[in-house]
Structures are given as C-alpha cells and as structure tokens.
C-alpha cells in the first residue's frame, strides 16, 4: 500500500461524504422530495451546471479507456476525442431555453416525464423507461468495473475488495444525497479534473524531455502514431468523423445529460454554463487524451490500456500529487455512476411506479422507495461487476449509442416539430434500438457497415421512421400547452 497516494484519495472521499450529508439535510427542508432528489429543485447556477454536465459525461471512458486508446492508437484518437468539444455548447443551445420552459410547465423531473406529457402515450413512457433501465444499467456497470480497477491499481487490494469499497461509497452517497449532492460533488470533481489533467500533462512532457523529443520518439517507433489515421492506419476519416454523432451532437439525447438541461435556475446560469462547459470539456478532453499519447515514450509497454493514466501518474509525479490527481478519474467515475444510478432509479420510481402503479403514493413512501430502489440497483450492479466484461470503453459506448438512437428524435423533434406524434416516437424508438443492436452485432462480425461507427446508421434510420410514421398517422399539430391547462396527476 502506498499511503502517500491513498491519503489524498481518502480525504477526497471524505469531503464527498460531507456534501452528501449536507444535501440530505437541505432536502429535508424542501417542499418536494421528488423534485429535489432527482433534479435538485431546478436551482443550479452556471458553474455547477457546467461542471455536472462535464463530470457526468467525462466518465471512465474519457479518463481511463480514452487515454488508454490514445496510448495505443496515437494522435488519431485525440482527434476523435476532440469531437466532444461540441457537447459543451450544443446540448445547451439545442435543448436550451425551450426545453427549460416546457419542462417547467410540465413539471417534468425526468426525460421520460417530458416524453410522456408531450406524446401522451403509455407506450412511449414504457419503451423509454425500459431502454433507460437496460442501457444505462450497462453503462453503469462499465463505470463500476472501472472504479474498481482504479482502486485496485492504487491500493493493491484484490479486485473484489476494491469493487466492494467502490460500491459501498457510491451507494451510501447517492442514496442519502440525491441529485443535489451529485451535482455539488461533480463541481468539485470537475475542478480537480481540470487542474489535475493540466498538471499531469506538464509532468509527462517534462518527463519525456519536451514535446520535440517525445514526437521524435513516437516517429521513430511508428510514424503512424502522429498521423490522424491510427497506428495501423485503421482510422479512416469517415469513421472518425462519424464520432461527431456518437460523442458530439448525439449526446443531446442522453437522459443523464438532458436531465441537467432542466435543472438550471435561469437564463443567466444557462449562458454561463455554455461558456464554462465548452472550455472545461475541451480542455479536459484534449489534455487527457494527449497525456495518453505522450506517455508512450515515457512509459513504454503498458499492456492493460486502462491502466495507462494511473501508472503514468505514479511514475511522473510525487506520490501525494499523484494521489490528488488520481482522485480525478475516481471522481469522474463516481459522479457518472452516481447520476446513472439516480436516473435508473428515477425511471423505476417516478416513471413506472408513480405513473402507473400508485399515483397517490405519499411523500414518505416515495422517499423510502426512491432510496430503496437506488440501493437495490446498486447491489445488482456490484454483483454483475464481479465478473466484468472485457473492454470498458466499448460497453460504455454501446449504452450511449443505444440511448442516442432511441431518444434523439423523440426529444428533438418533439420539442421543435409540431407534427411529431406518438406513432412517430414509438416507431422511431423501436427502429432506433433494434437497428442499433442489429448493426452492433453485424459490425462485430463483419467490420463496420459503410465504414462508420455503429450509431450513425440507426440515427438516420430512426429519423426517417419518425417523420414517416408521424406523417402517416398525422394528427393535429401540437402546441405546447400554456399555463394551467394540463391536469397534473400530482397536484
């Protein structure tokens, strides 16, 4: 055990717990448990909003899998990662003000609330709830595995004990604190990541004897590492560009991101979040992936790609600093897991249980149920992570792509196209998910269809299906209801 590394980590975890407890107190004084637990009563300012988006999105894939891939593939992977800069401004501008106004009016606290009220359809709600539960659950397990690996490589504990520690801390934290706690720690974590990646990048460049030296070494080892095409020339420009859909613009449809676009306090905080979000997301993605590439000459021959960042940090930094900086990926994973866990449990509690099983559940009951369901889902994730699937990043991306294919058009067209209706939404979700799964397995067996990432084709298929079915079963144009026109089940 390396205590100089572990102590800063422990301090970090302790701070996170204090925030959870503080949030829990604050929640006790709030008038609405559901709204506070799941979206923090819509009172977040710009910094918190930006950071919680960044931290949720910048998950294990960007902190371990991403730099690990950059380590073996080279600068081409950094190029690919930079498609994510768009998430900083695109989500907030597209969902932006209209989503905020409409969800407030609907009193929606989840993406599914919005879809349910926009399309007035049980099938839409059920399909979305089930896809959120399945896909986000698999994303969450990937993060869970990543968290355990990280603790394992830092402490030398066995995988299962590391997993156990990670699960316990996440669970206690989320079940007591809710969204407010998650968003607040996201902010701290975002700040740690921002400075952490910068320090680590500088340390790696210094350890490698400067950029010129490092690039000369890379060129000498394999010139492909400094091209946009990957170490074997395997990244075509079409393939890399298709990531604009998966990790750039498609992110708009991820429920964990969309829910954050309901939680801002006012226009001012949204504007500030746009600015901060773009800077932070771009900065962290650029640094983190660059570290992966530049670490190659410094620390050659790392076999498990996910361990590149922890190993490099331990190699090039003094132990205490490494501990603080490794709190960043751990933080990233915790915050992603936290918010995914919350979303899955909100789908179960809010979208299924309260909507269809017991609309008149009282506050205390809802509270116990929310915490209980969150806990149970966490335990299941723990059990599944004991025998983890191989490649973290791809499992994670599978979930992202599936959700994007399912939700992008029902969300975006539901918001902006008045002829969007439930037939279009249902058909598009079914077509999106099934073509996504189909193409996923096709691509695994025969290589990428048309040379693009798995999500690309389903996104176009679901668009066409959406428009076609909406027009086929054409209904009255939909106008968002004005004040006091909807009958709300819980008022």
């Amino acid at each position: 055990m390396n205590w100089a590394v572990i102590i800063p980590l422990l301090i970090f975890v302790a701070i996170v717990f204090v925030i959870g407890i503080w949030s829990n107190r604050k929640m006790a004084s709030s008038s609405s448990f559901l709204s506070d637990y799941f979206i923090g009563s819509r009172e977040f300012g710009g910094l918190i909003l930006a950071m919680t988006m960044v931290a949720t999105y910048g998950s294990a894939s960007s902190f371990l899998g991403g730099p690990g891939a950059a380590y073996s593939i080279g600068l081409g992977w950094v190029l690919l990662a930079m498609t994510q800069v768009a998430t900083g401004y695109f989500v907030l501008l597209i969902l932006g003000k209209k989503f905020a106004i409409v969800t407030r009016h609907y009193k929606a606290v989840t993406l599914i609330d919005f879809l349910g009220k926009r399309y007035k359809s049980t099938s839409v709600v059920m399909i979305s709830a089930i896809s959120i539960i399945i896909f986000l659950f698999s994303a969450m397990v990937a993060q869970w595995v990543g968290g355990a690996y990280l603790i394992q490589s830092l402490t030398g504990l066995s995988y299962v004990s590391a997993l156990f520690i990670f699960s316990i801390s996440v669970l206690i934290y989320v079940t007591i604190g809710g969204f407010r706690a998650v968003a607040l720690t996201d902010t701290i974590q975002g700040i740690v990541m921002f400075f952490g990646t910068l320090i680590l990048l500088i340390a790696v460049v210094v350890a490698g004897g400067g950029l010129n030296n490092i690039f000369a070494d890379l060129m000498a080892e394999n010139p492909n590492l400094v091209t946009p095409y990957g170490q074997d020339g395997q990244l075509t420009n079409l393939y890399v560009s298709s990531f604009w859909i998966l990790v750039g613009v498609g992110v708009v449809a991820l429920p964990q991101v969309a829910v954050r676009a309901m939680s801002y306090k006012n226009s001012k905080s949204m504007h500030r979040a746009l600015m901060i979000g773009t800077i932070v997301v771009g900065f962290i993605m650029l640094n983190m992936h660059l570290i992966g590439v530049l670490a190659r000459p410094v620390l050659p021959g790392i076999e498990v790609a996910d361990q590149v960042i922890p190993m490099v940090a331990l190699e090039v930094l003094p132990p205490v600093l490494a501990g603080i900086i490794l709190a960043a990926p751990l933080a990233a994973m915790m915050s992603t897991v936290d918010s995914l866990l919350l979303l899955v449990s909100s789908s179960v509690v809010k979208d299924i249980y309260i909507n269809y099983i017991k609309p008149d559940a009282n506050r205390n009951m809802v509270k116990k149920l929310s915490m209980g369901v969150t806990g149970i889902i966490g335990v299941i994730a723990f059990l599944l992570s004991i025998n983890p699937p191989e490649l973290l990043i791809f499992l994670n991306l599978f979930a992202f792509g599936g959700l994007e294919a399912a939700f992008i058009w029902p969300l975006v067209l539901g918001l902006y196209w008045k002829y969007a209706n439930k037939y279009g939404a249902i058909a598009s979700m079914v077509a999106g998910i099934s073509s996504y799964i189909g193409i996923h397995f096709y691509n695994q067996a025969y290589g990428d269809l048309l040379g693009v990432d798995t999500v690309t084709i389903p996104v176009f298929v679901s668009l066409i299906v959406f428009v076609l079915f909406s027009l086929l079963f054409k209904q009255q144009p939909y106008y968002f209801p004005l004040k006091e026109q909807t009958v709300n089940h819980n008022s």
Binding site: L75, V78, V85, L92, K98, R104, P228, N266, S267, G282
Partner: protein, 98 residues
C-alpha cells in the same frame, strides 16, 4: 395579458438559439475536418511541426478548440437573450408528492 403572445416570443428566441447551436457545430466540424485531413494526409516525414505538435493536430485540435471557445463567448455575449423560464408566478411549484 396575452399568455400565448408571450410564449410565442420566448419560443422564437429559443428556436433562433437552437439554430445558432447547429451553426456552431457545422463550423466546428468543418474546421476540425479541414485542418486534420488537409494537413495530416501527407506522409509523416513531410509534416511540419508547430510548438512541438504536428501542424495538422495543432490547427485542428488546439487552435480549433480555442476558436470554438471564442465563438461561444461571442454568441453568449452578443446573440443570446435572457428570458424567464417559469410560468410567471409560482416559480417554485415543483412536483409535490403529497
């Protein structure tokens, strides 16, 4: 007062800002793609290096990021309009689970 006129006005602003978002993304993609594959597709031996980085990477990823930050700043500062999100009074009328 005419509630619908107010809604329409807010939505109009929102629609305009969504279009700005699309515009930014299109610009971002063109910049990113143009420099990466414009400068990066020759043989690595012929690469020029700027501040230690290969030119394609420097312009596409580093300068491109800075340009986007400046553009987003400009949009936030000059193009976005502040509107109220609530249904006027009773801002805090969240879901009550009682």
């Amino acid at each position: 007062m005419s509630q619908s006129a107010k809604e329409d006005k807010r939505f109009k602003i929102a629609h305009r800002e969504a279009l700005i978002g699309c515009g930014l993304a299109v610009f971002n993609i063109i910049w990113w793609y143009g420099f990466a594959y414009g400068f990066g597709s020759k043989s690595p031996d012929e690469y020029t290096f700027i501040l230690g980085f290969p030119a394609w990477f420097f312009y596409s990823c580093i300068v491109g990021f800075i340009v986007m930050v400046i553009l987003v700043w400009g949009v936030v500062k000059f193009a976005l309009v502040e509107v109220s999100f609530g249904d006027e009074e009773d801002e805090s009328d969240e879901v009550k689970s009682a």
